[in-house]
Every structure is written in structure tokens, then in C-alpha cells.
């Protein structure tokens, strides 16, 4: 198992939004997907995932609804709202800018 990183403050929301950008998902799938795509580097703790989902829902960026999972179980699916989509763009842009800037600084010195 490769080395795991702690998520920097504020990035969890971005990751959730980005993941949901691909389509509606339930909480478990979100955490699995992030883990998979990041090649197991990023692992979201349940303890922070669900409060984050509730917070995003309160802000109106995602909406929850009950559906049926792949193995025929009732599961709560989240999807991006229009506001969420806009928020995703904003956060993505600012993250890229931040990452680029940090990279530049690291390389220059």
C-alpha cells in the first residue's frame, strides 16, 4: 500500500464536487472512487465525508435522493445542483491556480 496523505483543509469539498461531476453517487462510492483515482493516496475518512455531504447539501451545491445501489440496496445518492456545478468550476480554477503558484515557488527556489 502506498503512502497516504492527509487532505489539506478545504480540498474535501472540491473532491466531492468533482467526483459528483461525473454523475450521481452515494457516499461509499464517492470515497471509493477518490481512493481509486488517486491510486490509494487519498483516503476520505467517513467521519469527515458525511458531515461534508450534509454541509454541501445545506449550501445547496448538492442534492440528495434515495435510489437503489448496484447490489439492490437502498442508498442515498447525491448529485450536483446548478449552483454546485458553478461552485465546482470556481473551486477547480482556484485550486489549479494555487497548485501552479505553489509549484512555481517550489521550483524557483
Amino acid at each position: 500500500m502506498s503512502e497516504r496523505l492527509e487532505l489539506p483543509q478545504g480540498t474535501l469539498d472540491l473532491l466531492i464536487l468533482k467526483t459528483l461531476g461525473l454523475g450521481p453517487q452515494h457516499g461509499w462510492a464517492i470515497s471509493e472512487r477518490v481512493q481509486q483515482i488517486s491510486s490509494d493516496v487519498l483516503r476520505i475518512q467517513q467521519g469527515s465525508l458525511y458531515p461534508a455531504l450534509h454541509r454541501l447539501q445545506r449550501r445547496g451545491w448538492i442534492a440528495g435522493s434515495w435510489g437503489t445501489s448496484e447490489n439492490n440496496r437502498r442508498a442515498k445518492y447525491y448529485e450536483l445542483t446548478a449552483a454546485g456545478r458553478r461552485q465546482l468550476e470556481v473551486e477547480e480554477t482556484s485550486w489549479r491556480k494555487l497548485a501552479a503558484a505553489v509549484g512555481q515557488v517550489l521550483e524557483a527556489i
Partner: protein
């Protein structure tokens, strides 16, 4: 933003739903995790263990989700609310006591406020009530007697001050005769200036009110009827408008009907134009008119007062003969109405507030005892991470619940109790009190009640929190026992007992003074004996009795026949009974030989007409000279009797008997009247200052068609009513008998409001006494119970039971003593204020405070003795084992 609100609302309102969904969501995640672990080849047990490990504390996740939902505070509140209710249900005794105590406290405030609200805040529903003022003059020579009237010529000058008054109306209430079926009947009416209704801002419900042209002699035969008169006497027919009614033997055309409930200045049958003659208008000598004005917008009472004072000074210089030493007063109508009673109401409201504070102090004390039992629970809550603010929230929630329930009980009961309060005084009297019938539970009263309840709940809760802060939690958990009072909380509770004793003493002293004041008020009419006297108003029709001789003959016949009734020991006639709520006509008079050469120096006196025998019938003492006799006829020398105060004031050195006076000022050409007798002072109405000069004229010499008949009987005066009516009917069927009743009831009614207030004060005082006794007992019982072991040891070591008893009683005396010591100076201040304001009836004295201080000390001793006794009966061995 809106989404946010909707989300929070849903989370709050559909809480169970939301919680269930969260549960399901997390369970799904957990099970998925287990399945994944099993798929990767682990055993089921191992998979579950891993999943749990990865998951962390389930409750913690949930709690964080709840936080994320943003409803944490309300959610907690909801929990506390349910928890509080559960606690209350579990200890119904405490809940019942708390609710009863709080209900008493809140209810007392609601009851008094319902009166304040109706009488002081909304006595009339006139437009812009706070711009209506009454204006009147004082004459310096009248020594503080205040008729609340002004001279017509002065009124005309004042109404010219348009800078301050938009309009000033004058009026004069009188008795009129209404001819019904050929018989004259006395009715209450009011002569008013044409702008009277305009000043009040009220217009006729039907028809119109007076024009300026109609306010002149000759064109003034028009009348505006009250709604009641129109309903009762004219059947509420529309045809009443334009019809004629005979008033004082002259046909008046009905031009308008006032709206229902309009009864300014007092309940009236009708209003007619004042229509003063030019001579009457020019009168500057007699204060004969009442005045009411509407202030210009932006003008305050003080400003109006200043302007009129200047005017008055100018008049004084211009007309020194009449206006010297005359002062003018402007007072808010609302204030004027209750200038006598306002201090009592404020006192009552303050007393009600004290009762509430006392109730809260008591509850806090009881609550403390409970808190000791709950100390472990609270300590545990804190140890498990409950914050102190969360704990405070819980405690305040509990107390708010109690006060909310009490408020509901109070409100439910108030609809009944406020009606009882309102109906506790005879409507014969309350009809004279503007706003009395409006005493009810309206939205203002409800809002007040809710506010008081919330305030009570918060205060109660905060004090509990204060106490909880003093809990020594580590100690409690370590000890593991039921927990002990810490020194700090013991001190706090003792402080409450001291405060309770203070409140109680203050309340009791106020109650005592009010009751004393009431008793004195009842004895104000002590100048005569109202018991066993029947009274009635006898009115002779003007047409039939147009000569004095006819009136005198009828009265003589009437007196003879009624005196012959079995069981009647005396009969008499009088123009106005004491305690009738109607003032006597006031007139200027001149003492023969007096040097006064100015009207302004001419004193005034009440004038009453009385028949021979009047003073004997009412048991008014004859102090000197003789009474009237049948020989004092119109042809005999004109004679008068005077009151004791009048004799003392105007003939201070020598005997008043044989001296002469005349009515009117120095230049009056009235007949000289010889003083033949001096009688004891009788106060006409409770609001009149004592010692007002009274001149009595003889009914044989100055007969009047409208007189009050008085029958002194051996017993049960009310039984003679029918015989009286029969006699009058036998004499002349057209003569009208009105206001039949006992004099005792009239006197009782007239001071009923003070009696009710005294009673309320008494109740408050009693409640205060009981509450403080419970408080003292509670604290001592608690501390004695805690020291059981100590006492046991001491007894085992040879202490005598008496020593312990003495110690406990001393402790109680110390607490009550401190409370009394702090309260006594306060009560002195309050008594002084009370004696100053409450009709000047209650003399400041130390007897009342000392008496109640003694009572409270006695209560303290008993409250200490009982628990001490109980402990002393315990075997030392048992007490020691008790731990």
C-alpha cells in the same frame, strides 16, 4: 440562502425522518465496507472489525453531521425541553408546587395589570387621549380645597390661548327635571359649550351636535341624547330625532344621539347647550364651570401650564378684586382621573411584583434542594463533556417550561378571576369610574402576562445556573454519596432567605398600611352613623308644587307619616347625603364684620339644606346652640347652622353662635343669616379634604323640590322601602321615589375600591408571609438534616438536646434578623411615601413595621423549631449510622 433555510427547517421539522435517513445512509456505507473486506478475502469477523476501525465512532459522526446541518442549538433545545418535561413528570410534587407558586406570582401581576390597563392606560377611547387636558383654578383663600372648576370669564380668556389649545370646552353637570306623564323626574344632564364634542373628538351616532348659534340663551332648546336614554325612554326609534322632550318644563328638540358607551364626563342622560347669559359669561367671581381642552400638536402639558400661569398672572393684575391669589392648573385628563388612585395602583403593581419575586426566591430554594439530588447527574454530564453553557441551557429550559405552564394556567384562570375582580364592586359605583367596565383580559394584558412569565422563567433559570456553577463536581463524584451542600451554595441559599424576609416585611408593611388606610377611610364618615338608615330621593313635580308653601306642606306631611311607621325612630330630609359621590354646591360667603373687601378674599363653603331632626337622625353631634325647628319658617329670622371646622376657622376666639353671615361676596345684597348651632364635621365624600366649611340651611326656610329622605329604623332598614313608597303614593302618586337603599350600602360602595385594594394588599401580604415561612423552613430543615451526624456526635459526647435546639433557632433568628434589619429602613421609606400619597390618610408610624417584623421573627422561630425537634428525636447511634 433560501436553500439553506429550507434545509435547516426540514432537518428541524422532520427531525426523526432526517435522523433515520442518516442512520440508513451510514449503515449502508458500513455494510458496503464489510462486503468489500470480505471480497478481498477476509473472514466475516475480521471484516467487521476492520470496517469498525475505519469507521470511527458512529455517534461522533452523527453528531458532526447534525452540526453540519446547522440545527445543533435548536436540536439541543428540543432535547432539553423533552428532558425537562420528563423530569417534571417524574416529580409531580415539585412541579405542582412550582406551578402553583409561579401562577400565584404571575396571576397577581396579571390581575393588577388588567386594572391598570383599563383604568390608567385606556380610561376612554378618545382620539389622541394624551392631548386632552383638564384646566381649573384654585382660589388662595380656599385652603387647598379643589373644586376643579374655573370662572366663566377666565375660561373665555384661556380659550383665547390658541397657541397652546386647539380648542377649550366648558361644561357644567346638573340635575334636570324631565317631565314624564306629567310628573317631573330628576335626570342627570350636562350643559356644554358647542365645541365640547369636537374637543373630545366624538361625533353623534345619529343626527348632529350643537352649533355655536345654539349655545345662546333663547335658541338653546336643543338636546343630544345618550344612547342609553334613547333606548330606554324612546324605544330606540329613529323618529326620536326631531321630536320634542320636556326638560325643566320647556320643550327641547332632539337633534342627535351619541354612540353607545359615550359617557363623558360621567354617565349622562343627555347634553344641552350651556347657553350662558352675558352676565353669567362675565362672572369672574365664582368657579362654576369645568373645562376640558385639546392641546395643539407638539404642545406639552408643561408648556400649556406655563402659558396659562402667565395668563393667570395677567388676570390677577387686571382684576385684583376677583383674581388675586388665584392659580391655574393644567392636567392630563387621564392623569386627572386617577390622581387619587394612581399611587395605590402603582403600589399594588409593585406589591404584585414583590409577590412574584418572593415566589421565585422560594422556588429557587426548593429547586436547590432538588439540585443536590441531581448533583451527581449534573456532575456526570459535565464529566462526559457537556459544556457548562449546555448545562445552563438545560436548566433555563426547565424553568421556562415551568413558567410557561404557569402562564397558561394564569391566562386560563384570569378570564375568570379578572371578571370576579371587576364585579367585586357594585355597578352603582363603578359606573362612575371611567374604564372600569373595560377591565378584562385583552391582548395587552395577555402580552404582559407572557412577558412576566418569560421574565420569571429566565430569572428563575439564571439563578439556578448561578447555583449550578457553585457545585463542586469533583467532590461530588468522589464522594459518591447523595452529595452535600457546599459552603458557597449554602451561603447563596441563606441569602435567598434573607431576601425573602425582606420582601415579605416590605409587602406586609404595605398591606398593613393599606388596611389601616382603608379602616380610616371607612371611619372618615365617622362623623355620623350610617347603620340602620334607609335613604331615598323624593322629587316633587314642578308644575304641581310651584310654591314653597306647597313643598313645605308636602315634606311636613311626609315626615309625619313616615315617622309614625312602627320601628322608625327618626326621619329627616337633606339635600345631599354623605358618601353620595356627589359634591355639594359651593358658594362664596361673607362673615359680618370681616375686613375682606375683595372677592378673592371671600371664602367659600359647601351649602346643604337640612330638615329639623336631620342631625339627630344621622347621629351628627350637636356641639353648641340649637338645631332647626318647625318654627324656623320663611317668615321667621333667617338662620343657619355651621360645621365645627367652619366655626373654629372664622370665629376662632369667640363663640360663633349669634354671629351673622351672608352668601356671596362683600358687596352681595343677600340676607344676613344668623348662626344658631354648631354641628360636628362630616366629610361629604372621601376625596374631599377634611375640615371643609359647611353651611346648613333649614329646609323649612329654603324648601327644595328634590330632597333625600332618611329613615332611622330599629333594624333592617331595607324592609321599610315598600311602606315608604306606599306612603308617598298615598300622598301624591306623581311624586317620584328614586335611589331607594340603605345608607350603609351607599357608604360601603363609595369606598369599595379602597376596600378591594386593601383586600388585594392583604392577600398579597398573606401570600408573602406563607411563602417566606416556607422559605425559612426549607433552608433550616435542609441544613439541620445535613448536620444530623454532627448533632448525633454532639449528643453522644454529652451535649444536651436543648443546646442543639437553641443553636438551630439562633441560626434562624440570625437569617430573619438580617433580612428584617435590611428591610426596616426600606419600609420606613415606603411607609412615608404611602402615607404621603394614599389620600393622606395613613400616618407614618413604626407600629406597623415593628408588628410585622415581630410576626416574621416568630415565623422564623417556628420554622426552625420544627426541623430541630425532629432531629433531636433521633437516636445518636442511628444518626451516626445514617452516613
Amino acid at each position: 440562502m433560501l436553500d439553506d433555510l429550507r434545509y435547516r427547517l426540514r432537518a428541524l421539522l422532520r427531525r426523526d425522518d432526517t435522523e433515520e435517513q442518516l442512520d440508513e445512509e451510514l449503515r449502508f456505507h458500513y455494510e458496503q465496507e464489510i462486503e468489500k473486506q470480505i471480497e478481498s478475502g477476509l473472514s466475516r469477523e475480521e471484516a467487521i472489525r476492520r470496517a469498525r476501525e475505519r469507521f470511527g465512532g458512529l455517534e461522533q459522526v452523527k453528531e458532526e453531521c447534525r452540526d453540519a446541518r446547522g440545527v445543533r442549538f435548536l436540536e439541543n433545545l428540543r432535547q432539553d425541553f423533552h428532558y425537562g418535561l420528563r423530569l417534571l413528570r417524574k416529580s409531580p410534587g415539585f412541579a405542582g408546587l412550582a406551578i402553583l407558586t409561579l401562577t400565584l406570582g404571575i396571576g397577581a401581576n396579571t390581575a393588577i395589570f388588567s386594572m391598570v390597563n383599563a383604568l390608567l392606560l385606556h380610561p376612554y377611547d378618545f382620539r389622541d387621549l394624551d392631548r386632552l387636558v383638564r384646566v381649573w383654578e384654585y382660589r388662595g383663600v380656599d385652603e387647598g380645597f379643589d373644586s376643579r372648576r374655573l370662572a366663566p370669564a377666565d375660561a373665555a380668556e384661556f380659550s383665547g390661548s390658541t397657541r397652546i389649545f386647539r380648542s377649550l370646552a366648558t361644561y357644567q353637570c346638573r340635575d334636570f327635571n324631565l317631565t314624564v306623564n306629567g310628573a317631573a323626574e330628576p335626570v342627570r344632564g350636562c350643559g356644554i359649550s358647542a365645541n365640547f364634542f369636537e374637543v373630545l373628538g366624538v361625533s353623534a351616532a345619529m343626527g348632529r351636535t350643537f352649533s355655536a348659534e345654539e349655545d345662546r340663551p333663547g335658541t338653546d332648546a336643543v338636546v343630544v341624547l345618550s344612547h342609553g336614554f334613547w333606548q330606554r325612554r324612546m324605544g330606540g326609534q329613529l323618529s326620536a330625532l326631531g321630536s320634542n322632550i320636556p326638560i325643566n318644563g320647556r320643550p327641547y328638540t332632539v337633534i342627535g344621539i351619541m354612540p353607545r358607551g359615550f359617557d363623558y364626563p360621567v354617565p349622562m342622560e343627555f347634553w344641552v347647550p350651556l347657553a350662558l347669559t352675558p352676565a353669567e359669561k362675565a362672572n369672574r367671581a365664582d368657579l362654576s364651570l369645568e373645562a376640558l381642552a385639546r392641546l395643539q400638536p407638539g404642545v406639552g402639558v408643561k408648556q400649556a401650564q406655563a402659558v396659562l400661569a402667565g395668563e393667570s398672572l395677567r388676570l390677577e393684575q387686571e382684576y385684583p378684586l376677583t383674581n388675586a391669589n388665584r392659580a391655574v392648573l393644567v392636567m392630563l385628563l387621564r392623569k386627572e382621573l386617577y390622581s387619587f388612585t394612581l399611587p395605590i395602583f402603582l403600589l399594588l403593581q409593585a406589591a404584585a411584583l414583590f409577590v412574584l419575586l418572593l415566589a421565585i426566591a422560594n422556588l429557587v430554594n426548593v429547586h436547590f434542594a432538588r439540585m443536590i439530588g441531581r448533583q451527581k447527574e449534573l456532575a456526570l454530564r459535565l464529566a462526559l463533556g457537556g459544556t457548562r453553557s449546555r448545562l445552563a441551557q438545560l436548566l433555563i429550559c426547565e424553568s421556562l417550561e415551568l413558567s410557561a405552564i404557569s402562564a397558561v394556567v394564569t391566562i386560563a384562570a384570569s378570564f375568570w378571576s379578572v371578571r370576579v375582580l371587576r364585579d367585586s364592586i357594585s355597578p352603582d359605583w363603578t359606573m362612575w369610574v371611567p374604564g372600569w367596565n373595560a377591565i378584562r383580559v385583552d391582548t395587552t394584558v395577555l402580552a404582559f402576562t407572557v412577558l412576566v412569565a418569560i421574565a420569571a422563567g429566565v430569572i428563575f433559570g439564571l439563578v439556578s445556573v448561578l447555583h449550578a456553577g457553585k457545585l463542586q463536581l469533583n467532590q461530588t463524584l468522589k464522594e459518591g454519596g447523595p452529595g452535600n451542600m457546599t459552603r458557597a451554595s449554602n451561603r447563596l441559599r441563606s441569602g435567598f432567605v434573607v431576601a425573602q424576609v425582606m420582601f415579605a416585611l416590605t409587602l406586609l408593611v404595605c398591606a398593613g398600611l393599606m388596611i389601616q388606610g382603608f379602616t380610616r377611610l371607612a371611619n372618615i364618615y365617622g362623623g355620623f352613623e350610617p347603620a340602620s338608615v334607609l335613604k331615598a330621593e323624593i322629587t316633587l313635580p314642578e308644575k304641581k308644587y310651584d310654591s314653597d308653601a306647597q313643598v313645605v306642606n308636602f315634606h311636613r306631611e311626609l315626615l309625619q307619616r313616615t315617622a309614625a311607621l312602627l320601628g322608625v325612630t327618626g326621619v329627616a330630609l337633606n339635600s345631599n347625603n354623605p358618601a353620595s359621590n356627589v359634591d355639594n354646591p359651593t358658594t362664596l360667603f361673607t362673615v359680618e364684620g370681616s375686613v375682606a373687601q375683595k372677592v378673592s378674599d371671600t371664602p367659600s363653603a359647601d351649602v346643604e339644606v337640612a330638615s329639623p331632626g336631620y342631625f339627630q337622625v344621622l347621629h351628627i353631634p350637636m356641639l353648641a346652640g340649637r338645631g332647626f325647628t318647625e318654627a324656623d319658617t320663611a317668615t321667621a329670622p333667617a338662620v343657619v347652622m355651621v360645621s365645627e371646622s367652619m366655626a373654629k376657622r372664622f370665629w376662632p376666639e369667640d363663640n360663633a353662635l349669634g354671629r351673622r353671615i351672608k352668601l356671596g361676596a362683600f358687596n352681595s345684597d343677600a340676607k344676613w343669616l344668623t348662626v344658631i348651632g354648631i354641628v360636628g364635621d362630616v366629610r361629604q365624600n372621601w376625596w374631599n379634604p377634611p375640615g371643609r366649611p359647611v353651611i346648613y340651611e333649614c329646609s323649612v326656610q329654603y324648601p327644595d323640590r328634590g330632597m333625600k329622605l332618611l329613615l332611622r329604623t330599629n333594624s333592617s332598614p331595607e324592609k321599610y322601602g315598600s311602606s315608604l313608597r306606599e306612603i308617598v303614593r298615598g300622598l301624591d302618586a306623581e311624586v317620584i321615589v328614586n335611589e331607594l337603599g340603605t345608607l350603609e350600602k351607599e357608604v360601603g360602595d363609595s369606598i369599595a375600591i379602597v376596600r378591594v385594594m386593601g383586600m388585594l394588599m392583604g392577600i398579597f401580604g398573606g401570600v408573602a408571609l406563607v411563602l417566606s415561612a416556607i422559605g425559612v423552613y426549607g433552608v433550616l430543615a435542609e441544613s439541620v438534616a445535613q448536620r444530623k451526624r454532627e448533632f448525633g456526635v454532639r449528643v453522644a459526647l454529652g451535649a444536651r438536646p436543648g443546646d442543639i435546639l437553641r443553636q438551630v433557632v439562633l441560626h434562624s433568628l440570625k437569617l430573619t434578623g438580617i433580612g428584617l434589619g435590611l428591610a426596616l429602613p426600606l419600609t420606613v421609606v415606603i411607609s412615608r411615601a404611602v402615607s404621603h400619597y394614599v389620600f393622606g390618610l395613613v400616618a407614618m408610624n413604626f407600629g406597623v413595621p415593628l408588628f410585622f417584623a415581630g410576626t416574621l421573627l416568630a415565623v422564623g422561630v417556628v420554622a426552625a423549631y420544627l426541623p430541630a425537634r425532629r432531629v433531636m428525636g433521633v437516636d445518636p447511634i442511628v444518626a451516626l449510622r445514617h452516613e
